[in-house]
Symmetry: D2
Subunit: 339 residues, 4 copies
């Protein structure tokens, strides 16, 4: 941490900062300049936060320089992690395709979509039984009935299942059906939920909040990790910007940056990023090329009838193109494809 004193700060102000830091067991290094004095702090950063130095007389700014996340940081864990979900692996050595319907609508639709996913080379099945919807009048998902359908689709296809949980009270129920728990973009800072999934004994897929900074996203992962669960996969799914041509703006730079900061795998969701079917294939190609550890795509046997997000679901032709690309492109770039 660095404390920047204002030009008007007095010697008494400076001494007061140094002494307060000392009471917290820290060390303070004073650098005097022509117009300002800067004080560098060494010690426990959380202790320093509690000192509330910013409110002291003569202090103009307090800047943090050390990394605020620990367990998910790559600093103490330089090797990138591989997370296993059933038979599927997500990590630096493979490129993982997760596919399935955005929402579980019926037994038939889900099983058909799951078979499409498997044929396309997916090693993990996605599907929503609990759906977060902006409007209370929109379809909210089938709930436990949907979970049972997903479990049946797993029986039929052999693919492990990842599905969203929206409330800490539902974690146990969802974990009893699913192989991996998804925390969605609107719940990225639902801290009770993060702590509950951290204790559930299942791998977690943590989507980035649509307006979360990378630091906030990694701090959310730290909440999960702190409860003893390091089986976390991060998923970039588009951020909110001023651009209105697509639903959200895929932040592709986040992939190499997060892989540099954290040992956790990072996937991309090209379906939700754009909300447009015509962007799924080009953004998936970009995801592979930039070094993402996998992608999550929506598939639907009959997108025209989809209750949720039909416009972005892939159908047969596109899905075959995607499947071919997922088989061929990663090896060209020095990485194994799925399965």
């Amino acid at each position: 941490m660095v404390v920047v004193m204002s030009p008007q700060a007095t010697e008494t102000d400076i001494t007061a900062v140094v002494e307060r830091v000392a009471t917290a067991g820290g060390e303070a290094f004073v650098s005097r300049g022509v117009s300002r004095t800067i004080i560098g702090l060494i010690g426990d950063i959380e202790q320093f936060h509690a000192l509330n130095l910013r409110a002291m007389s003569g202090v103009s700014d307090v800047m943090r320089v050390s990394t605020p996340f620990k367990l998910v940081s790559r600093t103490n864990h330089p090797q990138r992690s591989t997370i296993r979900v059933g038979g599927a692996a997500i990590g630096p050595d493979t490129f993982t395709l997760v596919a399935g319907p955005c929402a579980v609508e019926s037994r038939e639709q889900t099983i058909e979509a799951a078979q499409m996913a498997r044929s396309a080379g997916a090693t993990l099945l996605r599907g929503g039984a609990f759906k977060p919807r902006t409007s209370p009048y929109a379809f909210q998902g089938l709930g436990e009935k949907g979970l049972a359908i997903l479990a049946e689709a797993r029986e039929v296809t052999g693919l492990p299942v990842v599905t969203e949980v929206m409330d800490a009270a539902d974690v146990r129920l969802v974990a009893s059906y699913a192989d991996m728990l998804q925390v969605g973009t609107r719940n990225m800072q639902n801290f009770a939920l993060l702590q509950a999934v951290g204790q559930a004994g299942k791998p977690v897929l943590l989507k980035r909040g649509m307006t979360a900074t990378i630091e906030e996203w990694l701090m959310a992962a730290e909440y999960v990790a702190q409860r003893g669960n390091l089986d976390i996969v991060l998923c970039e799914r588009g951020i909110r910007t001023f651009e209105r041509s697509y639903r959200n703006t895929l932040d592709i730079s986040a992939v190499p940056v997060v892989q540099g900061l954290s040992h956790l795998p990072v996937m991309i969701d090209p379906s939700h990023s754009g909300g447009r079917k015509d962007l799924v294939v080009p953004l998936s190609r970009a995801a592979i090329a930039v070094g993402a550890d996998g992608i999550l795509v929506d598939v639907h046997p009959h997108p025209e009838e989809a209750l949720v997000d039909g416009p972005q679901a892939l159908v047969d032709g596109d899905l075959r193109a995607l499947a071919a690309m997922v088989r061929q492109l990663p090896p060209m770039l020095g990485r194994q494809g799925p399965g």
Copy 2:
């Protein structure tokens, strides 16, 4: 709703849209232009969403024109509402001051802050027992012990209490101590929580998500209302923008716009908007002048020792200036002050 067909759309495409709308009990009006055809839809908009028209052949865009929220809308409820919390009223006839410590840290600090709040003319006491924090290593609040301290502060000062609840599972507990339940910015789309507070039988203070559109915010209020609770107060607390000089950017235009769209009261939180003490008084003046129904401010007897958000808490001198302004300015602008 308006369906815009692409220039390449065929007659078959147009007929298919019209027929699908008819199956949902709606009417479709076809307007043919030189280069495009536009189809206007009349009927139940939620039904139309389920039709997934955007995915049909020849459709280039689907635009919604009717208002998506009903219970909180001013269309069917032209008179602006007044919400009562204990003895306090929030609504178009008064200007309400809510004050208190950002976090309940101790019995002494809370009672001292509550007395500061009452002296300044506040009619409602705010204070956090459960604190949402970006970092799992930061102070998370005193929990139920904090709720008991708030209840004691109510005894001492006579002020009803509003406090945040972060998880649906805690709603019953928090409601047993508090007079009003706050849903914070990070939980504005925690739909399980919205539904739980909608059933708790207490008024709700719903803060705007820091990156929520006005429509999303009103839809979140609709979730609460749909469970039978229309005692909702909205609170604008700054949105996330590119500007880095303040923590968030107060969206003051939201006040008249939301008051035009909804009958619910709208308050402003000048403390969290800027995260800077020096902005609290000018932004409070702007809040009164723009027509907000009240403000929420942080006070702390000793901001230098605050565990959370000390830099934005008002101390004695500022608080007296604020109190004087809250007494004098609203009547000048044709509205009663607090109390």
Copy 3:
């Protein structure tokens, strides 16, 4: 400036930074911590930028701590400035109303609007002869013919004229007709234009770029000031955010923050911020209350016929309400009204 070394930085890296700083005539203060070393720099910051320290081995970040603008800064010029334009004053002692048509469309419309402006208490007439338009097919303004009409409106009403100039090549021409030169939001970083208006010998109205940070805005003012012209008035006119209910989001917090950083007057344009007539009066009230030095509003005798931005122009009733408010509210808040 503060140089933050990475945890992997070696002693050689640290020495290299210190020596490079010395070659530029600066001093470096080394603070060694448990995991990182921080180096504080004292000296000429522009020299330090040229050193490109960020690219040196072992450097993790370089942070600037001193203020980058000098001539417009309040640090060396604590008293807030008053700018005079013809008989009108803009500064801390008055509240200035600038009004007029968004675009000069005809002699009749302009003179009628100018008379409306004067009746409402405006002391400065605004009007656009050169109009920056997103589309090349939209009305681009009357050019010099429009300037002549504005000069005639000045004759008739006695109000000095402020009008936009879009290209450095037009500065001399526009300055020969106008009393104050406006640099618009799209040209805030047109540096050739900034330098040209800095040499034109007329006061300058510098609108904030719709996505400019406060620092970039003040640096743009510094470009003007550097050419010898300190008669600059800043104007906040809404920033681009994710919110779609209004054209732009008025950043009202910018007013007290910029007034703290710079001695220049700061106005608000409530017409362009929202792009909605119904927001002009509430945002003008907020502007007065927050402490702005004036407002700029669009008026039009027949908004239904306006070629540009008709939806936001005030007509008679609203304008009278605004005029009454501009007379009454500033004195209540301890400031003189216009004129």
Copy 4:
């Protein structure tokens, strides 16, 4: 265009809209619904804008549905264009590498960088003689002396030169040295400059404004095209968002979207997007994979000494990696590499 009437609109209001549209030679189609009436307009959209329908009584919204750009649109020009600059081609059949120093600092540095660029497979040399800088105290470029150095670098390497022009008054001068004129991000809506480069008889590289929507960007291109110059290459260079880990956020989705809307080539600038050297190679891989028509990268023989943007310039090792990728990856994806 679609006019949405408010629920309160009267028959007189509706008739007034229809008649006004007729006066402009347009046709209006009225669709009456249960709560609202919608009017579709067919005819000349610019004429309709001049009607200012939004300000008419009973009108709640006016929505544009046809495409606002014409000359650069793909609608009337379905085949994607190839632009030639000296011997270099930019378009759908090749992948073009443009490389060079961010700023021309000296004869030696520029020629050395140009030779690095050619060795890496670049077919076009970039370099700035006029530099737009946020601060007036920062290095502003060598001006005409820099142009002469670039011309000499062209002699030595055979590479045609693209360089930025910042002011309409300089277009003739810059065009006398350069093979292609760059309009930078801060000048994307400097309409005088756009018109001047449109008349200069040289191809234009039009960078996206850092906060411009795709529609505004294509309208800026339309300004150039309207002056008779269709030799335009678009360049995405990162947009401004809330994320602070990189200078700007590369909007990779813009590439397929713009290629769908316009026939013009679209390149990516991975150096300026992130402002970080470590992102150049991964973002360049993503650019190739997503289908961009080329990339623009900064190279510098001695980045530690660079006066501008040294932290993002590639040096030998990285540049060789990039060069190998640019040779190998496009053919794998069905496109020729440079040269």
